[in-house]
């Protein structure tokens, strides 16, 4: 990794240069919510001014740019009782600006599933490798618990990473393509002054985490508390809407469906992101449902994230961004659920 300094106006030039050849996704201001708080979302931008880098948190994670909500896996062309299959992977380059450390960590975890494990997934890999990722440091949000789950630092999985030092950015350069790209605009070597400022910002960040919750004992706890009343308490509230999984940066469960054109000349095989909180997630033909009630479905989501995934990949799937808690209309917030599990254990 290389460290450099870039002036903000040079950074602007950099973004605008990039826009000339590449689709750029960045946090964009949408509107204020009912309480007057701004809402941001990762959306395509057409010029630098639409990008908001000092945003708090985007409602939705950026995962859709890697695992689209709906993704055509293959197309079948049918003719005279025969067919051919066509498979295409996305190879148009794209850049995403303004990912926070938790979001980048989420991608690193998805990499473990889709890029490193057996059956690597070419649809994901092609999107991942064709996406230029620019992350940025920020002051902790109100409800996130990334620090409690070890997702507030990043070491890899990005191209550039910025830390705002007022009039300039402290840049971590993590790939040769990033170095080539950023070298198109003036960048400076870091001075002691820069390092001092950088460390001060980092210190400020690390002192500002607000939410505290213990997560390291969760794999064990979840096993013991499998029959816990906590699940009933929170499960009864669940609306079975799947919102939590849709906004989550790591939830990756999906379904596959096929659609045939009205004249039966083409068929499409489509993967669509799904959620384990939905009624028929584990339902099979004939109507048997392995998780028929809200409580078991809600429990399964925690069980998969904090127990199953840990066992398979050594760390939880959750990165503590708390988007699920924030967008859940029923107010099911992972911090409270996990705290309740700890309480239950003490009883």
């Amino acid at each position: 990794m290389l460290f450099r300094i870039i002036k903000k106006e040079d950074f602007k030039t950099f973004v605008n240069l990039m826009l000339q050849t590449t689709e750029v996704i960045a946090p964009k201001f949408i509107k204020n919510n009912a309480k007057g708080k701004p809402i941001h979302q990762f959306l395509p931008i057409s010029n630098y001014d639409e990008m908001v880098l000092d945003y708090e948190k985007c409602e939705f994670s950026a995962k859709t740019y890697f695992l689209p909500y709906k993704n055509t896996l293959s197309t079948f062309h049918m003719k005279d009782h025969d067919w051919t299959q066509e498979i295409q992977y996305r190879i148009q380059p794209r850049a995403i600006f303004g990912l926070h450390p938790c979001d980048i960590n989420a991608l690193v975890r998805l990499d473990k599933v889709f890029a490193r494990d057996f059956y690597p997934n070419p649809y994901y890999i092609s999107r991942r490798k064709n996406t230029f990722i620019v992350g940025i440091d920020h002051l902790p949000c109100d409800d996130g618990f990334c620090h409690a789950i070890n997702a507030n630092h990043i070491t890899h999985g990005f191209d550039l990473f910025l830390t705002d030092l007022g009039d300039r950015y402290f840049v971590k350069i993590n790939s040769d393509r990033a170095f080539m790209a950023i070298s198109e605009v003036p960048i400076q070597e870091i001075t002691d002054e820069d390092t001092k400022d950088y460390l001060a910002v980092r210190k400020q960040i690390s002192q500002s985490y607000k939410v505290s919750v213990k997560t390291d004992d969760l794999p064990n706890l979840l096993d013991i508390e499998f029959e816990s009343k906590v699940w009933k308490k929170w499960g009864d509230k669940c609306l079975n809407c799947g919102t939590c999984a849709m906004v989550c940066p790591t939830c990756y469960c999906y379904g596959v469906t096929e659609r045939v054109s009205m004249d039966h000349s083409t068929g499409k095989k489509i993967a669509y992101l799904y959620s384990c909180n939905l009624l028929d997630f584990a339902m099979v033909a004939g109507g048997h449902n392995f998780r028929p009630n809200q409580e078991t479905r809600l429990k399964y989501r925690y069980y998969h994230q904090h127990r199953g995934f840990v066992e398979s990949y050594g760390e939880p799937m959750c990165v503590g961004c708390n988007r699920c808690g924030r967008s859940c209309l029923a107010g099911i917030d992972p911090v409270n659920v996990i705290r309740d599990l700890h309480e239950e254990e003490k009883l």
Binding site: L17, M18, T21, T22, L73, S74, F76, M78, H81, D82, W83, Q85, I87, Y89, I91, Q92, A95, F118, Y119, P120, N121, P122, I125, S126, K129, N130, F132, R177, M180, A181, F226, Y252, C253, Y254, G255, V256, T257, E258, V260, H264, G267, K268, K269, A271, Y274, C276, F281, A282, V284, A285, G286, F290, T296, Y303, H304, R307, G308, F309, E311, S312
Partner: protein, 301 residues
């Protein structure tokens, strides 16, 4: 600004491994299906048909091999993909046998298919019954209803290597006599393969002269040597729960009983999570589990 050269997965060398669906392999087109032709359709009952399916491309056909217990994803382009256990013999390299019940969308359309229809298959996926380990022992094959379909692959394996196994028993139960599958093969199994075949139905009709009752009833009449026996149990969850518990009472160790689990599956590759139970994926870690593992899987049954 030339940001970076677009990356094309299909050009990456280590992704260019041949199309082989075994766990260890990396593969390029996880979504590519073998084109296969339905060469024969045998109507077994009102609801079940046996399909003979042959991979069209010779090279692909030669490469396709499987172990008893594995399944394939069978695809009707434009309508969907379903997991189906392979119901034929692993040594049959000409065609694959699939016994399919009309259950929902894909399977219903499939039941309308005629010979010559071209479908897609991916696989084989999943693990298998430890047929090697079972050699030299008595074998208990216990099937309830459609459970006979996945049981046929290990049965073929046993009959084709008959001398390497001791006593072989098939215990088979269905609800009514007209639900019995593969009736035309019973004689062969009994006479040629020296298998003790016992059949029982829950609800007899006027033509039925055989045994009546639950499948566990058949067990009670068997001479079982617990430590020299392996059991394979296939059927609906309630059924194998009862059967395995009874076998345990006979003293058969739980790691000598195998069941094949069924879950919703959409990818077969441990990605979609539909069949996931915590850290276990039925599609890659299963579908075959010994009974001890099943008991350890939360909410497995």
């Amino acid at each position: 600004m030339r940001l970076f050269t677009p990356y094309d997965v299909t050009k990456e060398s280590d992704m260019l491994m041949p199309l082989e669906f075994t766990r260890a392999n990396r593969l390029m087109h996880v979504d590519k299906t073998y084109k296969a032709e339905i060469t024969n359709i045998i109507r077994l009952t009102e609801m079940e048909k046996l399909f003979h399916i042959r991979i069209i491309n010779e090279e692909e056909r030669a490469r396709f091999s499987f172990l008893p217990g594995q399944f394939v994803m069978l695809e009707l382009p434009g309508y969907g993909e379903v997991p189906i256990s392979i119901s034929g013999s692993p040594s049959n390299r000409g065609y694959i046998e699939l016994c399919i019940r009309k259950a929902g969308i894909v399977t219903s359309i499939l039941h309308k298919a005629r010979r010559g229809a071209k479908v897609g298959i991916r696989g084989p996926f999943g693990n298998s019954f430890p047929m090697e380990k079972m050699k030299g022992n008595n074998i208990l094959l216990i099937a309830g209803g459609l459970g006979m379909a996945p049981l046929r692959a290990p049965l073929f394996y046993v009959t084709e290597n008959r001398s390497e196994y001791q006593d072989v028993h098939i215990l088979y139960g269905t609800r009514t006599p007209d639900q019995l599958l593969f009736t035309y093969q019973y004689d062969e199994w009994k006479r040629i393969d020296d298998i003790n075949l016992q059949i029982i139905v829950e609800k007899p009709d006027i033509t039925w002269s055989g045994k009546v009752g639950m499948i566990t009833k058949l067990l009670d009449e068997l001479p079982i040597k617990p430590l020299e026996t392996y059991a394979i149990v296939c059927g609906p969850p309630v059924m194998f729960k009862f059967v395995c518990n009874r076998l345990r009472q006979f003293g058969i160790p739980m790691h000598r009983m195998f069941v094949s689990l069924e879950r919703r599956m959409h990818c077969g590759m441990g990605k979609c999570c539909r069949c996931n139970i915590g850290s276990t994926f039925i599609c890659v870690d299963g579908p075959v589990f010994d009974y001890w593992s099943v008991l350890n899987l939360k909410e497995a049954i």
